[in-house]
Amino acid sequence: MHALTNRSKMVSDKKMTFLEWIYLPAIAKGMFITIKHFFRKKTTINYPEETREFSKVYRGLHVLKRDDQGRERCTACGLCAVACPAEAITMVAAERKPGEENLYREEKYAEVYEINMLRCIFCGDCEEACPKEAIFLTDRLVPSDYERLPFIYGKDMLVEPLDPNMRIDVSARQTENLLKFKQNKQFAHNK
């Protein structure tokens, strides 16, 4: 039979030499490899006291952004849900009433917006599909739990806080072209 690799060794029952028979050199060689690892840099970290450095475009827990006036950007267009390969997103739309202009950017908004984090595969297709720059994935993690229900994240968990200091920065995720487009205040999209 043909060997698939050249790493295989033929087994033989030849008599061991004296050095091989006392096993000590082999043990010493093995111990050397083991002890060498004691002095290497540790690969584990003490999570959660320490956290690893995240990639700029790490895909973790979602955020529903507000615009610079604190209005919710999401207009419940449903494109994220239709782009979602895991069908993790559901939403119910509602009409903005007069007087709520400071809360919602468009005349329609998401009354209910839920992401099932157990279904979500964090592919980022939702932020790709979003025409309103409303949903972004961030470098935050979804904490573990013993129950299933807490993994269905509603708007209370997803929408970013109104407080300007608590906003979640996603500028690293935005492409250069987009940032350039946003400079131009003449387009209705940026007003």
Binding site: T75, V82, E87, K108
Partner: protein, 320 residues
Amino acid sequence: MSLVKVIIDNIEVEVESGTTILNAARKIGGSVVPPAMCYYTKLEGSGGYCRSCLVKVAQGSAKDPRPMPKLVPSCRTTVQDGMVVQNITSPEVMDNRRAITEFLLLNHPLDCPVCDQAGECHLQDLSYVHGLEETRTTEERRTFEPIDIGDKIKLNMNRCILCYRCVKVADQLTDQRVHGVLGRGDHSEISTYILKAIDNDFSGNMIDVCPVGALTDKTFRFKSRVWYTNPMDAHRECSKCGGKTVLWMKGDEVLRVTGRKDKYGELEEFICNDCRFEKKNPNEWIIEGPRKIERHSVISQNHYEKLLIEENNPKIKIEK
């Protein structure tokens, strides 16, 4: 009726004389059919406004083989024997169509994420194929407040492309038209003068004939996106109309009722307001089965087999 031969995009077709180029192209079908935003087969005198169906006539007829000097609207031009028409094979036509699309979108708010028509909008389809990726204008767009044109009809004038279809529906389907186009040029707008003035029994059909989201159903307003609903053919005994409709269902809930549209987005039959707005209980309908939707349409997203629909919704009985 004598038959005449026309060649559209190198495909020969025999049609009755007096047929328009658009209808001759529809006889061939497929991608040679020019888009039509304002022409509507069932409405007399429709067509000629939107210019999206302009085609090139490379040879006027067998007797007079000179080409027509300009692009002609295919919905208004009748065929002649030996006519040679170029639609998608002519770069001039495609270039022109791109420009027309840009003009149609000049004042369009591009609020598809909010609009209820998204997914079944002809302007969306047109701009998907011919539109530019970027807006080249920075001027203020013509804006109006959305108003209630009838009890259950919302008019969002911003989205209107002035195709006159709704006016023609009101003219030809009902005895008295109470809405029309006011103003001229850039100032023209669909209006009734008096809010909620339209209360005709067949007024709801203007929602279906509207190629864009200018006229929308208030009972369906923001309820769901079109592609999350299951279109089901259904009928009922109706004293006013044929009662043949499509129910747009989510679970066992009827979110919207519309007429049945063919592949060019034209109604097969006009339906009455009773069927459209009042009958939202699935028990009032005899459901025939899922409507055939083109595979590439966004509406067929996440739609499964007939069997599965029945299994998931035990209340719905599909007539075999």
